[in-house]
Subunit: 496 residues, 2 copies
Amino acid sequence: MFEAAELGRKVDKAAFAAAMPELRLGLLEAQRRAREAGVPVVILIAGVSGAGKGQVVNRLLEWLDSRGVQVQAYWDETDEELQRPRWWRYWRTLPPAGSVGVLFGAWYTPVLLDQIAGRADAQALAAEITRIVDTERTLVRAGVLVLKFWCHLPEKEQAKRIKERRKDPESHWRMAPETVRYANHYKDFVRVGTQVLRETDTGDAPWYLIEATDRRYRDLTIGRTLLKALQARLDAPPAPEHLQTSHAPVLPDAPSARVTVLDHVDLDSRLERDDYRQEMDHWQAEVNRLTWKAFRARRPCVALFEGWDAAGKGGAIRRLIQSMDARLYTVVPIAAPTDEERAHHYLWRFWRHIPRDGYCALFDRSWYGRVLVERVEGFAAPVEWARAYHEINDFEAQLAEHGVVITKFWLHIDKEEQLQRFKAREQTPYKQHKITPDDWRNRDRWDDYKAAVNEMVVRTSTEYAPWEIVPANDKHLARVTVLKTFARRLKDALDD
Amino acid sequence: MFEAAELGRKVDKAAFAAAMPELRLGLLEAQRRAREAGVPVVILIAGVSGAGKGQVVNRLLEWLDSRGVQVQAYWDETDEELQRPRWWRYWRTLPPAGSVGVLFGAWYTPVLLDQIAGRADAQALAAEITRIVDTERTLVRAGVLVLKFWCHLPEKEQAKRIKERRKDPESHWRMAPETVRYANHYKDFVRVGTQVLRETDTGDAPWYLIEATDRRYRDLTIGRTLLKALQARLDAPPAPEHLQTSHAPVLPDAPSARVTVLDHVDLDSRLERDDYRQEMDHWQAEVNRLTWKAFRARRPCVALFEGWDAAGKGGAIRRLIQSMDARLYTVVPIAAPTDEERAHHYLWRFWRHIPRDGYCALFDRSWYGRVLVERVEGFAAPVEWARAYHEINDFEAQLAEHGVVITKFWLHIDKEEQLQRFKAREQTPYKQHKITPDDWRNRDRWDDYKAAVNEMVVRTSTEYAPWEIVPANDKHLARVTVLKTFARRLKDALDD
């Protein structure tokens, strides 16, 4: 595929200069429009060594208004990055709405180097490509404009440049040791590059192959391509049908009368006071022991709590953390997003809070809001929440692959029990702050929520992150169940 | 001073239980009010080993609504933290408006351990205490409620507990090795603690000495103290006069007619085209070489750009970054703060962007907005901007102590030149986006801005972070001056 970039195309100085005014004015205008429209733009620059990726980025910074551009190199991984799932570093550096992110290599560099160095086999490569295609589609469907440029040089030209640059004591060749080591593995690089480019060249996020031998041709072509892509995106924002998954999601037909997983929960069981104390003592000690063990084993842990209003999420979390050392966990309450969070993909705010190795994050509500409240209240369009199941499964898969122990709780009560608790809250002074008009409104949509919960449990119960439906009409039983489940998940993960 | 915490006070089980309803209701109510009033609360828990600091924190999480509480332990410094000024880790973990941050030891632990281990002398201790007092005052004056609890045990009681805990295989004693090493240096700890507590026990952020021998007494006392402090703060929010610096700031008398540092700038010099090209080539090469050298030497670098509207900040920054490898720097444009930024102290948003060792951050406008636009437009009260000079000097001192090379540019043009540029912008299509009604409004307040700039330069030109006033009527001269100054600051810092 790279022959198309070995045609010897050139742009002379005069032609380059003549093209400048229109191009620069156009880029600034397009950037302004993207800012106003709140479109995040990802420009990914990759390619063979010596092709001048750094020069390209400098040129873009010269042409665009640098106040709206963030450049990201991905050299040395910090230990905060190493101690989290691999894509954490990419998620945290994605540009917010209206900004341009220029990314060097990004998620492609490790894939290429792993292949060339023989560290990953064909299966690993296939898995990684699936993840890339998936994630890029996730971004594009959320409105991100993703442009990928691959700068190519013929073998002889590269050899010449490497020789020249090695002579230059201030060149960056010594800076990224691994890149240097494989810089002149030209044939390997091109072979792996061909495969990766082909398989990740999707309609959502296409590759642009750039002939990089002549600098002016390279820069002008990238500039013009960028301009055209920006204009196309801004002139015709994706219509809802373009944002759809190619296969219509299987939407459940109004299931209010249907039997769901929730109808099989035994809500009548009770735990007597004495048994409760005994069980609590036992499982709290277990959780304490196991969280320390996880800390020493450097296994991170994510537990999330969803459930009906007044089902006792807060109380269950409080009982759980009583048993843990306060230095080992964070409680992450999920309320309305901040404006920085709103300027990103909805998963971005959760990626932010992924714990480091050895620590726990407890989410009081979670990313499942997308398929619960946002679905039922219409804050997310059907195409948006319909594709969220897949996005969430992939997100959790990435956590699990990194070694995160995931526990997901749905605290289940029935409608009658909820009514009793709402009334009790209204009558207890120190509980009044817990009941709001929203709670009563949500209650009116019980059946819609029930359908959403059912679909959520069915679609997102995976072997690596199963749902635990906790019978919560009896608070004692609910709390013990939470502790017990949490402890068992840790026990299994730690081979305890 | 610790005798007051060895009186053998106790609370029996019944009395503790009887006190609960009122205390818990009070705390929840106070927390709700603090959230509504947007008051950030810092609760710092320190004290001798074995006093049960972890238990205290768990208790607070049980009593408060844990959704509004963030616990911060400061164990292992990550490399991202090690590669930045020491207080970066504290700033980034401060609670936003309306939240409670519970901090273990925080900025006190390293001071105490450094003393006990003999790693720091009396002078270093004095410097650190000054920094602590300064920073706590900075926070308190910005509206943060800072409460510091010191949990004390008599020597015998500590010895007993350490013995017990060492027997417990799941205790955290093995977790923080340094704490363990000095756990039973009781006398040293008390000696150093006495000094540090006394010298940091300010009216702004007082210490509460807690007798920790009896757990119920300890927890109840802390709970009640916290409640009282919250109520006091919420019932009587600090009046403007309480927020004042104890000495009234020296406000300049309306200096519109006065001669300022800006009047001494020679704005008539010009740089001819040929000289310009030659100088640019030379200094761009120098900047390229020196930024790589700084990278290898792991020296970080901060450059900030302030100046009149249309003085050419953007152009100067563009010329500077053209000479640098795009992987080595970030441009940080300072516009209106996000809501997360608004929920913190005004310096928090700049601490966020402090670069890691070896990298550069270029600020397009900066923390000086506090004493420029916020002062002139009245967004900050006189007491607020008046104390900002000192806060900023201390902030920059912390950067400098860590090894950050700081360069500060004021791009200066005269009023006539600005008028010409405004008109030119209005007539050039690709520059129209750069001129807004705000620019014309600011222009009307030229003299007020001039007075503010003068005071800023006078008060914040330090040996570690001097201002460079760049004559910018001639753009060529301005750009070369910026490059040259930047290169020289690096050269000096690197002993090049």
